[in-house]
Symmetry: C2
Subunit: 113 residues, 2 copies
DNA sequence: ATATTATATCAGTATATAATGATATAATGA
DNA sequence: TCATTATATCATTATATACTGATATAATAT
């Protein structure tokens, strides 16, 4: 096994995963599984603030996970690719099996009572 | 669409994705695609420091993405599930298609020259 | 024209976490 | 025993980023 440190592609892949790596963004993606939604609808569906949703949507769009389309004063967002849903489904399944070990993901062991 | 904010499961799912959302951890996972490795081998394969690798391995284990087995003074790590590889493959593919838009994933638009 | 609605952006704060260097632990070998 | 090797942990620092509240922009409606 030869030595290669972190090439560009790993940075990109990490950024892609980062798009999924936040509960607020996941709730947005989850809402969008039902189809295209305007920002206000996403705000209602998730319970997040408008500002927060807008920031997360920018992130998701920059990550390539969603696409947006303007119609008048509305911006409609949707999942960009079937594989985004596939990733959500796959991790849902995976979680069902390994959830036992995912309580904590810090470098410190779970030291609760 | 009714209102539900962020249930436990979204937190867990986010943590799972977080395991993948770092270039150093991805390089470790990538190394492990070839099969079980001891920590020192991972250090060599990735070029990361021993301490750093050890911290990331703890994270990956806590996230349920890898499992470890002790043999004498060696700890052997391996991917915990075929679906971990599946997720890596799926995002590889997805990246190939949408990479154009993943240059940046900050809330600020890419404002380069 | 003015008000309202939909969305985006900004500045500031708080928190999370990646990396480092040092040290601890524990197994093996001389 | 003592040295070496393999790994884990600790404390610290620096950076990234999630969130908030305020404001800006722009489209529509009255």
């Amino acid at each position: 096994m030869l030595i290669t440190s972190k090439p560009e592609s790993l940075e990109l892949q990490a950024k892609l995963f980062r798009g999924f790596a936040d509960p607020s963004r996941l709730s947005i993606l989850e809402a969008l599984r039902g189809g295209e939604l305007a920002v206000t609808e996403i705000v209602q569906a998730t319970g997040l603030t408008q500002s927060n949703v807008s920031n997360h949507l920018s992130c998701l769009r920059d990550c390539g996970l969603v696409t947006s389309e303007q119609q008048g004063r509305f911006s409609y967002y949707q999942l960009s690719d079937q594989r985004v849903e596939d990733l959500l489904s796959l991790t849902d399944e995976l979680l069902a099996d390994v959830a036992k070990g995912v309580y904590e993901c810090t470098r410190y062991e779970a030291k609760e009572a």
